[in-house]
Each structure stands twice: as structure tokens, then as C-alpha cells.
Symmetry: C2
Subunit: 145 residues, 2 copies
């Protein structure tokens, strides 16, 4: 039966989906942002101004995945895109004050998420889980065999 082979795979995917959905539910009611958008804005806040490429790398995603999202954030007035002077291929992405405000507001959501985690997992357990997930991610991020 293939079902047993899929057990850990399925657990990882469904746990990630449950976490994402809860965070999205909380975020969308309080800030009208998705978690993906919030994660992008958190990276931008930490490194602005940065290029599409740098943003994609920080989020461990492709540049092509960034185009649409960044356009949406720009349309909402949360970020600005300006051409880099030294390299005209690049954009320089930065938060607007409105974007900064949205990001600040999003902290409530992650505070709730983290409080729930703290209730359910001891610091040692969270540490162990983080280490396992880091190894899991590293294990599968190389080229396929």
C-alpha cells in the first residue's frame, strides 16, 4: 500500500498547511495580507532596498513567483519599486509607511501563533523541531538524484 510510504510526507504537508491556514485566517481579518505577502514584507523590511532576485532568494523562491506578488503589494501602496541606478535591470524594492504599518499590525498574528506554539511545545521541543526541520529542508534542497 502506497499510503504507508506517504505517511511522513503527508504529515509534513498537512501540518504546514494547517499552520499556514491559521496564520492566513488571522492575518486576513486583521490586515488583509496573506502570510506569503507578510513574509515578503518582513524580508523587505530587514533588507531594503533589495532586488527581486535578493527577495526571491531570501524567501527560497523563484523570481517568477515574485513578479505577481510584488505587483499586488505595489498596487496596494505597501511597497515601492524603483530602478537601480548602478544596474538598470534591477529593481529596488522598499516598504512604504503604509507597508511598514501593515507589517507592524501583522505582528499580533504571529504573536498569537507563537503563543499557541509556546503552550503546546516546550522551548526544548521547539528547538528540536526547528533542528529537525532544518535538516529535513537541507536534505531535499539539493538537486534530484
Amino acid at each position: 500500500m502506497a499510503a504507508k510510504d506517504l505517511r511522513l510526507y503527508f504529515l509534513v504537508q498537512t501540518a504546514a498547511a494547517a499552520l499556514k491556514k491559521r496564520a492566513d485566517d488571522l492575518l486576513l481579518t486583521s490586515t488583509d495580507l496573506t502570510t506569503a505577502q507578510t513574509a515578503a514584507m518582513a524580508i523587505i523590511a530587514a533588507r531594503e532596498p533589495l532586488s527581486m532576485r535578493a527577495l526571491a532568494d531570501a524567501l527560497m523562491q523563484r523570481e517568477s513567483a515574485m513578479t505577481t506578488m510584488i505587483r499586488r503589494l505595489e498596487a496596494k501602496g505597501l511597497i515601492t519599486r524603483t530602478r537601480a541606478k548602478t544596474d538598470k535591470r534591477q529593481w529596488q524594492i522598499a516598504l512604504t509607511p503604509l507597508g511598514r504599518a501593515g507589517l507592524t499590525k501583522s505582528r499580533e498574528t504571529f504573536a498569537k501563533i507563537n503563543a499557541a506554539l509556546d503552550d503546546a511545545f516546550s522551548a526544548a521541543e521547539q528547538q528540536s523541531l526547528a533542528e529537525d526541520l532544518t535538516r529535513l529542508r537541507a536534505l531535499f534542497r539539493g538537486a534530484a538524484r
Copy 2:
């Protein structure tokens, strides 16, 4: 900085994405199926014939997410859909021989994934990871507060 708040969230999502991508890469070259399709077929194999609703529940998803995927699997000749006699609202979904063959072939992929996991994680570590993920999933699957 919001980045720290997002640490565990980001780890879970990126670890799940890395695992999904590796499995997809392997599966798509050997069977032309995605992991989501394979997971659906594994459920169908274990419980056929079953309704859209039962399938969605088993995959922890919405029925609306099933419609398109099931249509695709049907178009590929991997599953059949027939109306249930007792309740004409329901479909009865079952694998075709071709579907069963695809599922069998997919086992190679998950054998590789599981071998990689066995290399990197001891049985006890996998057990602990599975328990943590089960708790994490349960923690966030209820209604939002």
C-alpha cells in the same frame, strides 16, 4: 523585527516545500503525476469506491479542490467516476488498471524519499518528528480564535 516571529513558521513552510519539490521532481520524471495526484490515488486505492467528500476529508482538503484534480485524473484515464445508486448526488471514484499501475510506479519515488529520510534521521528521530508534526497540525486545525 517581524522576521524573528516568523522563524518557525518559515521553517515549516520551506521544509514542506523542499520535500514536496523533491518528490514532485522524482515523480514527474517517472510517472507524469504530481505528488498531490499520487496522494489522492493512494487514498482512492485504499478505500475505493469513495465519494468526493470522503476523498477530500481523507486528504484534509475541500471538495472544491478535488473537482479539478479528479477531472484531470479522469481525463488521463487513471480513475473512473460513476454516480452512486443510493445517493445520486455522490460520485463513486475508483482506480482504473492504468491508475493502479501509475500508483505502483510511484512507490519507487517514495522509496527514494524514505531512504533519504532513513539516512538522515534515525527511527527514533523520525518518530519524534512525526509526533511533533501531528501535535502541530492538531494545534492549528481547529477554528481560529
